[in-house]
């Protein structure tokens, strides 16, 4: 049965305006490019509807979540660059199969969950005793206890814990990766040549790099390596190296 709320969810997005189920159909037929659909806006619209209705139909909400999650996954797969050619071949038929499989899987476990709830309810009234042992049985003697555990199990557990998980490769995503360490090195390089502005430090950089550079700057300040002045909000930030960098202290101390 079409669930009223999901189907009737009216969307007004940049690339599409109309009901959610129509959007879904068009996406599956590739008449609307999933890459251009702001899924976050779909979620926000849905939240607005929920808020306006004031009640939450769990069945419907669950279906929406499964659908939107599957769409997100499809979309993220579409965002892979060309070198992952195989994964790119996601035609509408496959997208449909994938969505269908996801919804069926979710449905199966919802039914299983219902079964478990009924099962638990059917055990209502079956209670177990939970009482401490009588004192005479509480005295445990360790004499004559044989070894039952393998010491190697402990060594093996430590070995497993020493394994550093392989870093998941996100090279195919366009997320710029920049570390505070890199930006610290960059700032220190600039400051060795004297004062600089924040704009100098982030010329041509993307938003994430700008943010990380700011973190790095705060770190430098905390360490007493640099200080800065900003005359007005959004104004230029002038950075100058401190006269006594932190490592001098360390050297003096040691």
């Amino acid at each position: 049965m079409p669930s009223a709320t999901v189907a009737e969810l009216e969307l007004d997005l940049e690339v599409f305006s109309g009901p959610f189920d129509l959007l879904l159909t068009l996406v599956l037929k590739e008449e609307v490019d999933l890459l251009e659909v702001e899924l976050a806006d779909v979620v926000l619209s849905y939240l607005d509807v929920l808020e306006a209705r004031g009640d939450l139909d769990l069945e419907v909400a669950t279906e929406f979540l499964v659908l939107i999650a599957a769409l997100l996954e499809l979309k993220s797969r579409l965002m892979l660059p060309r070198e992952d050619e195989e994964l790119l071949d996601l035609d509408p038929g496959e997208a449909l199969e994938e969505l269908l499989a996801r919804m069926l899987e979710a449905k199966r476990f919802r039914s299983a969950a219902e079964h478990l709830r009924e099962r638990l309810a059917s055990q209502e009234g079956v209670r177990f005793r939970s009482a401490p042992l009588p004192a005479s049985l509480r005295k445990v003697t360790y004499e004559g206890v044989a070894s039952v555990y393998e010491p190697d199990r402990l060594g093996a557990a430590i070995g497993d814990l020493l394994k550093v998980p392989e870093e998941v490769s996100i090279r195919h995503l366009t997320i710029p990766r920049v570390s505070v360490a890199e930006r610290l090195a960059h700032l220190r390089g600039l400051l060795r040549r004297g004062a600089a502005t924040f704009d100098d430090a982030v010329r041509g950089a993307d938003r994430v790099t700008v943010a990380v550079t700011l973190f790095a700057l705060l770190e430098l300040y905390k360490q007493g390596e640099a200080t800065w002045v900003q005359d007005e909000p959004f104004g230029e930030i002038a950075i100058s190296p401190c006269t006594r960098p932190a490592w001098d202290h360390v050297e003096l101390a040691s």
Partner: protein, 221 residues
């Protein structure tokens, strides 16, 4: 009642958890056959409707439990329910763990379409699930506990019904497929622009739809 059956009854009364056949046999220092006879005798003596207690086989062992007839009085005396019911999120998470164990949090979240963190935490606290190793990436995997079996009245996990019994019928599946593909068409009005009705897709899958549209990625640039 034979002395051995009496001893078994006493042991099950004292033991905090279900006791396996082997543990009972070793404690009583008898043969398999002797113990089996005693267990059978006890089972008959505690036949439902005979006594206030019943002998149950749960979580791989034997245990004594109250007969449900006494529940109203038990509730008045103990002033607490047996075990609180599960919320839908907890039940869903528990069913995923029960059927797919061992399973990681991300996998549970993927199936549910939504994070399972709070449900997992609650189920851990209630002792219904526990850690059961790690995935190759180091993620903790979860499995159900003996307490889960005990509270849900199961001898073992094998007693869980085959999940395929909840699979939709072919009709239901066709309807869902139809709905996914066509839901919006009625609103769009007119025949589907690509002329690919759901039947075509349903029958032949990917190959049937040849939208020949631009590469989806190309649209990105």
């Amino acid at each position: 009642m034979s002395e051995l059956a009496r001893t078994v009854e006493a042991l099950l009364f004292l033991a905090p958890e279900p006791v396996t056949f082997v543990a009972l046999r070793e404690a009583c220092e008898v043969s398999d056959d002797e113990l089996q006879d005693a267990v059978d005798e006890l089972k008959r003596a505690l036949e439902p409707g005979t006594r206030g207690l019943e002998l149950r086989e749960l979580a791989g062992g034997f245990t004594l439990a109250t007969s449900p007839d006494a529940e109203p009085a038990a509730r008045r005396l103990l002033a607490r329910p047996r075990t609180p019911p599960l919320t839908p999120a907890q039940a869903e998470t528990l069913s995923i763990v029960a059927y797919l164990q061992p399973v990681s949090r991300p996998e549970i979240a993927r199936i549910r379409g939504v994070s399972a963190d709070s449900a997992v935490t609650t189920l851990l606290e209630r002792g219904l699930i526990e850690e059961g190793g790690r995935s190759q990436f180091g993620a903790v995997l979860y499995r159900t506990t003996p307490l889960f079996l005990k509270l849900f009245g199961l001898k073992s996990l094998d007693e869980l019904p085959d999940p395929s019994r909840w699979d939709p019928t072919p009709d239901e599946e066709a309807e869902l497929r139809d709905r996914l593909l066509r839901a919006g068409e009625a609103r769009a009005g007119g025949p589907p622009p690509l002329g690919a009705g759901p039947e075509v897709v349903a029958s032949a899958g990917p190959a049937a739809v040849e939208p020949a549209s631009e590469d989806p990625v190309g649209a990105d640039g």
